[in-house]
Symmetry: C2
DNA sequence: CTGAAAGCGCTTACAG
DNA sequence: CTGAAAGCGCTTACAG
C-alpha cells in the first residue's frame, strides 16, 4: 500500500516516521550538523577526519537520509531545475530533443521541466498559478525552441523589473542575442537539392508547414539559393497544416497540374508522407514519376515505401548540446553558439526523372 | 543580453537588482509581511481590509514580485512537482501521455518532471546525484508506466526507512496495490479479433514486442481468449525488438512458410509497419493476401498504405486521467482505479481472406 | 483588521 | 579538526 498523500493524522507512535534531517544524522553520528553537511557536499577534505566521515556515512545510511531539496534551494538560491520549451512532445523529434537534454542535465545533477509551448494565452489564471509565472523563482534557466518564441517573452523578464532567466535558444537566428545551438539545415537543404539536380531534375516544387520559425525560413532560403543559376525552376509552393491528411490535400494542388514538378521537396517527413498519398492518388509512381524528399529522418522515413530520402536532423544531440550550453552559461561561462551537422540520407524516394 | 548565471560580482549600483521578496512588498505597501502572504494566498477575506489588499497588489506589481518557490516548498513541506516515469519520450505515444499529464497538472498548479526510465543502472553516481535519489524530497508523487517498473523500486522507499512516494500506475495490473489507470486493451483486442473472424479469417499469427509489461500480457491473453472456440487457429508467433526493420525480419519468419497465416495481429503500429515490409518482400498484397493489424493508432497508422486497421489507445487521456488520480491521492482522497476505452479503428489493411 | 515571531532544513562563514 | 549561529523567504499560529 502506498502512503496516502499528506499526513491525515500524525501517527501516535513514538517515531512519527518523519523524514530524517541532517540534524538527526548529526545526532546519531555524534557530530554537528555542519559536519554532516560538509561530508555530504564532499567538502570535508582536510577539514574532517576520516573516522568522522565514516560515522556520518553510516548514520546517513542507517536513517536513509536524503537532503531536503527545498531547503538547499532556499539556502543556495538555485533550484538545479531548467525549463525546456518545445512546441509539442507528441512530435517525436522533440521527444528526442528532450531525451538528449535530460541526459545532459542529469549528468550535472539538474532536472528538466517541460512545457509544451502552446500555453493557451487566453486562459486567465490566478496571479501565480501559471506554470510560467512561477518560473522566475522555480527555475535556473531556460532552453527553448524558436518555434515557441512568443510564449517566452513573459518568462524572460517581460513583466516588471528584475532580471530575466538565463537562456539558450535551439534552432533560432544566431544573431538574435542569446547563445544558440542550431542544426545546419541550410547545408542539409543544399545537399538535398544538389542531389536532386545531379539526378537531372529541372522542375521543383515545395511543400512547407504553416508554421513560422527560423528553421523553416533557413530551409526556404537555402532551397532558393541552391536552385539559383542551376538551370532548374521552382514551379510551385504549398503551405499546409502539420498533418498527413492536410499535407496530402496541399500536395495534390501541386501535382494536379498540366506540367507537374518532377521533384517535390517537403520540409518535414510527415509532410512527405502526405505527398506520397497525393502522388498515389494521382497515379504517380515514386520515384519513377516523382521524386519526394523529407526532412528530420523520423521513424516515418523508413515506414514509407519506398523509404524516404531525407535530411537527418540530430535531435538527441541538439538537446544534449543545448543543455550543455545552458549549464555552462549557468556556471558563468559564455557558451559559444554552435551548429550541428545535418546529413543527407538518400533512400528510395529519389531517382532520375522520367524522360518526357 | 541574458544574465550570466550566478552573480559574478554584486553590481555597485544602489539597487542590486535582487529579486524582490515579500518583505520588500510589505515595506512598499506599508503593511506587514504576514499581510502580504495572506493576500497572495487569497486567504484575506474577513481578515484584511479591501484597501490594504489593493495596496499589496499595487506594491507587488510595481516591484514585479514573484514568491520564492523554494521558500514556499520548505515551509509547506510540499514541492508541487510530480515525476512521470515512462519508457521513452521518443515514442509518440508517451509524448501524448506526457502532454495530457502536464495539462492536468498545470490546472492544479503542479509541475511535471519526466525521466525516461531506462536509467542506466550501472552508472555509479555521487551519493545524491542520481535524479531518483533526490526524488524522495524533491517530489510529491509519482505517475509511472508499468513498462518501467524496475526503475521504480528505489524510488518507492526501497533503500532505508522512511515512507515511499504516493504513486499511481499507468497500464498495470489493477490488483497490484497502487491505484491504476488503465486502457481497456483486452476489450480492444477482443474487438479486433472479432472483426478478423467476421471477415472470415481462420489462420492467425502474432507479432509481439520483446518487452515485458502488463499491457502486452493483457493483449496476448485477450487474443487467446478471443480465438478459443472460434474455429480459427493460432499458427505462429514471433517476438521482435521495437523497430521497423527488426519487426520486418521477425514478420518474415511468420510469412515465409508453406501455409502462411491470413491475418497477422501486431501489438503495435510500429511492428505493423515492419509487417508491411515483410509482406511486400514476400509478394503478398495487403489486404488481399494478408490482413495486418496494429495497436495504438499513432500517426504511422495513417502513413501506411493501405492505412492500418488498429486499436486506438487514448494516450492523452491516459496521462490526463492518471495525473488527476495522482493529484487526488495527494489531496488525501482515494482515487478509484479506472479503465479507459480502447476503440477498434477499421481501415484498409483488413479484408476477407482470399479463397485458397 | 494587523503585526511580531517562530521555524521549515539546509550551508557557510566564523570562532575556537 | 569541529561546533554554534545566522539566515535564505516564506506561512502560520498567536497575540493584540
Amino acid at each position: 500500500m502506498p502512503p496516502t498523500g499528506p499526513p491525515a493524522e500524525p501517527p501516535a507512535t513514538d517515531r512519527p516516521a518523519a523524514r530524517p534531517t541532517s540534524k538527526d544524522v548529526a545526532k546519531l553520528a555524534g557530530v554537528s550538523q555542519s559536519t554532516v553537511s560538509l561530508v555530504h557536499a564532499g567538502k570535508w577534505h582536510g577539514r574532517v577526519s576520516e573516522r568522522t566521515v565514516q560515522a556520518v556515512h553510516e548514520a546517513s545510511a542507517t536513517l536513509g537520509y536524503r537532503p531536503n531539496q527545498a531547503a538547499r534551494h532556499l539556502r543556495l538560491g538555485t533550484t538545479r531545475t531548467v525549463l525546456l520549451v518545445v512546441p509539442a512532445l507528441t512530435n517525436p523529434f522533440f521527444g528526442a530533443v528532450h531525451t538528449g537534454a535530460s541526459e545532459a542535465a542529469a549528468r550535472r545533477d539538474f532536472s528538466v521541466v517541460v512545457y509544451p509551448s502552446p500555453i493557451r494565452a487566453g486562459t486567465e489564471l490566478a496571479p501565480f498559478a501559471s506554470p510560467f509565472a512561477a518560473a522566475h523563482t522555480a527555475l535556473d534557466g531556460v532552453l527553448a525552441s524558436s518555434m515557441a518564441l512568443e510564449s517566452l517573452s513573459e518568462l524572460l523578464g517581460g513583466t516588471g523589473p528584475g532580471p530575466g532567466l538565463p537562456l539558450v535558444m535551439l534552432d533560432s537566428a544566431p544573431e538574435a542575442g542569446p547563445p544558440t545551438v542550431n542544426v545546419e539545415v541550410a547545408a542539409g537543404m543544399h545537399a538535398l537539392v544538389t542531389h536532386l539536380l545531379a539526378l537531372g531534375h529541372r522542375r521543383f516544387a515545395r511543400l512547407v508547414p504553416d508554421i513560422d520559425g527560423w528553421t523553416f525560413t533557413a530551409r526556404e532560403n537555402a532551397y532558393r539559393a541552391a536552385l539559383r543559376d542551376s538551370g532548374a525552376v521552382h514551379v510551385a509552393h504549398a503551405r499546409t497544416e502539420f498533418s498527413v491528411h492536410e499535407a496530402a490535400e496541399a500536395a495534390l494542388t501541386l501535382l494536379d497540374t498540366p506540367e507537374p514538378p518532377t521533384a517535390l521537396v517537403c520540409d518535414d517527413d510527415v509532410l512527405a508522407a502526405g505527398a506520397y498519398k497525393a502522388a498515389r492518388r494521382q497515379g504517380l509512381r515514386i520515384p519513377e514519376d516523382i521524386s519526394i524528399t523529407g526532412f528530420d529522418d523520423l521513424i516515418i522515413a523508413t515506414v514509407l515505401e519506398p523509404e524516404l530520402t531525407t535530411v537527418r536532423l540530430p535531435a538527441h544531440q541538439l538537446g544534449e548540446t543545448g543543455m550543455t550550453a545552458l549549464l555552462d552559461l549557468l556556471d558563468g561561462r559564455r557558451p559559444e553558439s554552435t551548429s550541428l551537422a545535418a546529413e543527407l540520407t538518400v533512400r528510395g524516394s529519389t531517382a532520375p526523372p522520367a524522360r518526357r
